[in-house]
């Protein structure tokens, strides 16, 4: 099974972190993974993307042009990625920040008011975990438990962030 995921939005939204969690969860399941950030000149508020490939086979290309799954966290990210998601793929949209609706009907779309849901747990800083939860709920790229294990490992040094991130992930996972 080849999963090619692109996460895109603004720098500072924690996109690379949830990409890292996906890659870690893939490794926990003994699969091959690649994590590729857009890098360098990205900064808080600028455009930022992360490409994650998870596969049982050896992975070729690092850069993903046509993702099987995408998360968009800004209006410009939606404009850029909507035409690129593969047919039958999934597109998760942070509807707190993006008013537009998707025009395609050959892909599955999930609208998540991630910032509102994140505020119920902590604040905007965990909206990234909410959208990750929504993605995993609708497309089990990895097992939910693998993401939880990855969260526990990555945030093991910060009790408050560990708790908030776990709650935010489950909030996104269980929302309708």
């Amino acid at each position: 099974m080849l999963e090619e995921i692109v996460i895109s939005g603004f720098g500072g939204q924690g996109l690379l972190v949830i990409g890292r969690l996906l890659a870690d969860a893939g490794m926990i399941e003994d699969r091959n993974v690649v994590w590729l950030p857009s890098y360098g000149a990205e900064k808080r508020g600028g455009t930022c993307s992360c490409h994650i490939t998870i596969s049982n086979e050896k992975i070729g290309a690092l850069y993903i042009k046509r993702p099987t799954a995408a998360i968009v966290m800004s209006p410009s990210a939606l404009t850029r990625l909507e035409p690129l998601v593969k047919s039958d793929g999934i597109l998760v949209i942070n509807s707190s920040l993006i008013a537009d609706k998707v025009g395609r009907n050959d892909i599955r779309t999930v609208y998540v008011p991630a910032n509102e849901l994140a505020a119920e747990v902590k604040d905007d800083s965990v909206a990234n975990l909410v959208v990750l939860g929504a993605l995993i709920a609708h497309q089990p790229i990895t097992a939910r438990a693998s993401i939880i294990t990855a969260i526990n490992t990555l945030f093991s040094k910060s009790g408050t962030m560990l708790e908030a991130n776990t709650k935010a992930f489950l909030k996104g996972y269980t929302q309708e």
Binding site: W35, Y63, K65
Partner: protein, 349 residues
């Protein structure tokens, strides 16, 4: 029990590979997209009780590598394309002085200051002797994070074996990517260097320079170097070949471009198109013979590179003027995608 894998960034894998290989001294100046090497080394070299210097320039860094290597220790610098240009004089001096050392270039878009996207535009500069004079440098091209570690370790061994600098030529995409890595065993026995300037107590002095006043003597000194470069071409060619037995089209690519080529090859195969891949691991010495043999049994080469037509020149030399060779070039810091290569394959059909 398989070896435990950890998720690691490409630049970090280079730094850790150097430490495992017994690199005693690291000198570097910050430049994207290789900054993680410098950052990681600043922490790890002091932990290991070794030498770390953030220099005032890339020029200083390469000349400190010269000095450290002359003293007999394993030494390294890392940089990206504009900094690599600045280091060419020092690399020429090191080759002329028969000094081992490792230069890592995590390439970015050029020419000039260019941009910070990954690229492979320094192919000529690395493989043809980018500084002055008749010299060559073994150039290793990793295509995965694991190889970032493994080929950095190999670079130190080859540098000592030939008493010549070795270049690890990676690109920004590989430097920034993370992949699972198996940590290798640390090198414990380093080669003895009787030629080093390590203090003359109990022995005659050693002299290390690249300067020869006697006009009759210098051609002989250069010939010693040329013989080494011949031995490298005979003994050190490395490449990976995949699915070439029945191929009618052979893709030629290295580094992150070869990863896109691998995906393109698999997609083409799933459509019944007989495509194979030859991935040079050493760019100098180049696998001319393997490509020449291949040219006799396939219909066409497709060269995929993150530069505007550099690798293709060596493929042309190997394959001959009559051979069909197409170029898929992405440059200026743009990534190579599998779709780019698939398009070229389908066009060739």
């Amino acid at each position: 029990m398989p070896d435990k894998k950890i998720l690691m960034g490409g630049n970090i894998a280079i730094a850790e590979g150097a430490i495992l290989a017994g690199c005693h001294a690291y000198f570097g100046y910050p430049i994207t997209p290789q900054n993680e090497i410098l950052e990681h080394m600043s922490k790890r070299m002091s932990e290991e009780g070794r030498v770390f210097v953030q220099t005032e320039s890339e020029l200083a860094a390469i000349n400190m590598v010269y000095g450290a290597a002359a003293s007999g220790c394993r030494a390294m610098t890392s940089t990206s394309s504009p900094g690599f240009s600045l280091q060419q004089e020092g690399i020429s001096y090191m080759s002329g002085s028969e000094l081992p050392g490792v230069i890592v270039n995590v390439m970015r878009g050029g020419p000039g200051l260019g941009n910070i996207g990954g690229a492979q535009g320094d192919y000529f500069q690395a493989t043809k002797g980018g500084g002055h004079g008749d010299y060559k440098v073994i150039t290793l091209a990793p295509a995965s994070v694991q190889e970032m570690m493994d080929l950095t370790m190999l670079a130190f061994d080859l540098a000592d074996k030939y008493r010549n600098p070795v270049i690890v030529l990676a690109d920004g995409f590989l430097g920034q990517a993370m992949e699972p890595v198996v940590i290798r065993k640390a090198v414990t026995a380093l080669p003895e260097k009787k030629w080093a300037v390590s203090g003359t107590k109990g022995r005659q002095k050693n002299i290390i320079n690249s300067f020869e006043m006697d006009p009759a003597a210098f051609p002989g000194r250069v010939k010693v170097l040329l013989d080494k470069f011949d031995r490298m071409q005979k003994d050190e060619v490395r490449f990976e070949d995949i699915n070439l037995e029945d191929a009618s089209i052979a893709l030629i690519a290295y580094g992150s471009a070869s990863r896109a080529a691998l995906t393109a090859m698999n997609l083409a195969r799933s459509k019944g198109i007989k495509v194979g891949l030859l991935r040079p691991v050493t760019l100098f010495p180049f696998p001319y013979n393997a490509i020449k043999k291949l040219a006799n049994k396939i219909d066409r080469f497709i060269v995929a590179e993150l530069s505007a037509g550099q690798l293709i020149e060596d493929v042309r030399i190997a394959a001959g003027t009559e051979m069909k060779i197409d170029l898929v070039a992405r440059y200026g810091g743009a990534p190579m995608t599998a779709e780019d290569i698939i398009e070229a394959i389908e066009k060739a059909m």
